[in-house]
């Protein structure tokens, strides 16, 4: 399989204070990679460098061997960040300005279907619940069909019940929409429920201190990785132990 995304020797500093790297990472073409780590470990900075929101001081981000471009990237922020003056459909159309009306409407319908919000297209953001708004943000990121979908702690502001439903939506998207997905999270359980691979960062400056392939558990099927399942519990214990060891080291 060709590598989809290659991060090579990435270094980022703010006011000469290093916050990330040097960091190298290769992400495969489909499935979710979770990046976990404590606050200040450089997770969000890494994601912002991938999205082009921050310029790295050193290093490159390549997609299929070529420099990454904005149209390759979809980004879901910690908060929905919807344009309050646009309807749900208007928000989903935000990244589709280069399409004609027919293609744009089709892309909006597909993206809203993926997140189960086809019926609320005319509503304004102020009329949505937190979970719905975050699903609209997910649809907005998906609509232009990016090759890379970056999710920066998109569930952290949601209540536990809404969070579980959103996890199902993200898994549904991952199964139906073949893109490289990178999820930043603090939550080890969330990483295990959603990801095929977990990368742990520690910092500052953020460096990779662990990289676990969870395909071992794939035979169970993504949805069967529920909390309470014996394999889930053992995977979590293994991950927690490894994180503790790497943190101590």
């Amino acid at each position: 399989m060709n590598p989809a995304l290659q991060v090579q020797g990435l270094v980022k500093a703010f006011n000469a204070i290093p916050v990330l790297g040097p960091l190298s990472l290769t992400l495969e073409t489909d499935g979710i990679t979770a990046i976990i780590g404590r606050s200040g470990s450089g997770k969000s900075t890494l994601l912002r460098c991938l999205a082009g929101l921050e310029s790295p001081n050193r290093g490159t981000v390549l997609l299929g061997g070529a420099p990454i471009r904005p149209e390759h990237v979809g980004f879901v922020f910690q908060e929905p960040r919807l344009m309050p003056w646009l309807s749900v459909r208007g928000n989903v159309a935000f990244g589709l300005r280069h399409l004609d009306r027919t293609a744009r409407n089709r892309a909006i319908d597909l993206a809203l279907d993926l997140v189960g919000l086809r019926d609320v297209g005319a509503l304004l953001p102020k009329q949505l619940s937190g979970g719905m708004a975050q699903r609209v943000a997910l649809a907005r990121a998906l609509a232009p069909e990016p090759k890379i979908l970056l999710l920066d702690e998109p569930l952290s502001a949601l209540d536990p019940l809404t969070r579980e439903r959103m996890q199902e939506h993200i898994l549904h998207v991952a199964e139906n929409y073949r893109a490289t997905m990178v999820l930043i999270t603090h939550d080890m359980d969330e990483a295990l429920v959603l990801a095929r691979r977990v990368v742990a960062l520690q910092g500052p400056p953020g460096r990779i201190v662990g990289d676990w392939d969870l395909k071992l558990y794939e035979s169970l099927g993504q949805f069967s990785r529920q909390r309470g399942h014996p394999d889930f519990a053992s995977a979590r214990a293994e991950l927690a132990n490894a994180l503790a060891v790497s943190a101590a080291g």
Partner: protein, 282 residues
């Protein structure tokens, strides 16, 4: 909640049909409450005038003012003066708002432009309006050009300040959404910054219109042969306080009506705002 429980409150609960019928009355009452104080003032004024507590050549009665305004309306002078004032105000507002929109957008969007233009504009903002009058008369004569420019100066600053601060203060998080979707500077301005700052811009336009009314009076008092400002000075010169008070009332009513229209427009355009209570015009 059980029906039995609700039954205890039944005297206070309206039937569904009644609730619908009451709503428009309630809305009308809320809208009309703003008229209460002006009407009370007029009644009080009439009472004071009728009792002769203030001499009629200092404060004419409301009835006398109404008769004067009616007479001006009948001979066509009120419409002519109102038209002249309206035309000056419209042109001054248009030029002032247009210049402010260009400068406010430029200085709001670009830090370098703000550093270059804003100090000068802030200094000019503090020049008293009447200080411009002699200069404008020297430069542009005593006819309409100088008056329209004076009004434009008055309109310019509130619109400029609100727009500049509105654009510069747009939430960085929304701008980042534009950037991750590959928006360049102009699309970002058009699709994110201008819509986001529209409430501030409309507030500036309302403020500008209010100052426009003030400046049109000043402009017409500095040497016009028509307009409401002329009616004011003319009334003073010929000793007709009823004419002066009548012109003041026309200024107040017209200003309020135009502000109401602009406020309704602003309310409709910015109805997306998630505020506790919309700033509805009273």
């Amino acid at each position: 909640m059980s029906e039995e429980y609700l039954g205890a409150f039944s005297p206070f609960l309206a039937a569904p049909g009644k609730a619908v019928a009451l709503a428009p009355k309630l809305v009308a009452w809320r809208g009309g409450i703003g008229l209460f104080l002006p009407v009370l003032c007029v009644l009080l004024w009439q009472f004071v005038a009728a009792r002769g507590w203030v001499e009629a050549d200092l404060l004419p009665s409301p009835l006398q003012v109404a008769r004067t305004l009616l007479s001006m309306a009948q001979d066509g002078s009120l419409a002519a003066d109102l038209g002249a004032t309206g035309q000056r105000l419209a042109l001054g507002f248009l030029f002032g708002a247009l210049a402010a929109t260009v400068m406010g957008t430029l200085t709001g969007a670009s830090l370098r432009a703000r550093q270059f233009f804003d100090p000068l504009l802030q200094a000019l903002r503090n020049v008293p309006s009447l200080a411009w009058v002699p200069l404008f008369i020297i430069w542009f004569g005593i006819y309409d050009t100088s008056k329209i420019l004076l009004i434009a100066v008055g309109v310019f600053f509130p619109v400029y300040l609100n727009l500049m601060n509105g654009i510069a203060g747009v939430d960085r998080k929304l701008i980042e959404v534009g950037r991750v979707h590959g928006y360049g500077r102009l699309p970002l301005m058009w699709r994110v910054q201008l819509p986001a700052c529209s409430p501030a811009y409309l507030t500036g336009l309302r403020g500008g219109l209010g100052l426009g009314w003030m400046f049109v009076a000043s402009a017409e008092m500095m040497g016009a042969s028509n307009g409401l400002g002329f009616v004011l000075t003319n009334g003073e010169q010929i000793g007709r306080p009823d004419q002066v008070v009548g012109a003041i009332l026309v200024f107040a009513v017209c200003g309020k009506i135009m502000d109401w229209i602009l406020a309704r427009f602003a309310g409709a355009v910015t109805s997306w705002q998630d505020t506790v209570r919309r700033d509805e015009p009273v």
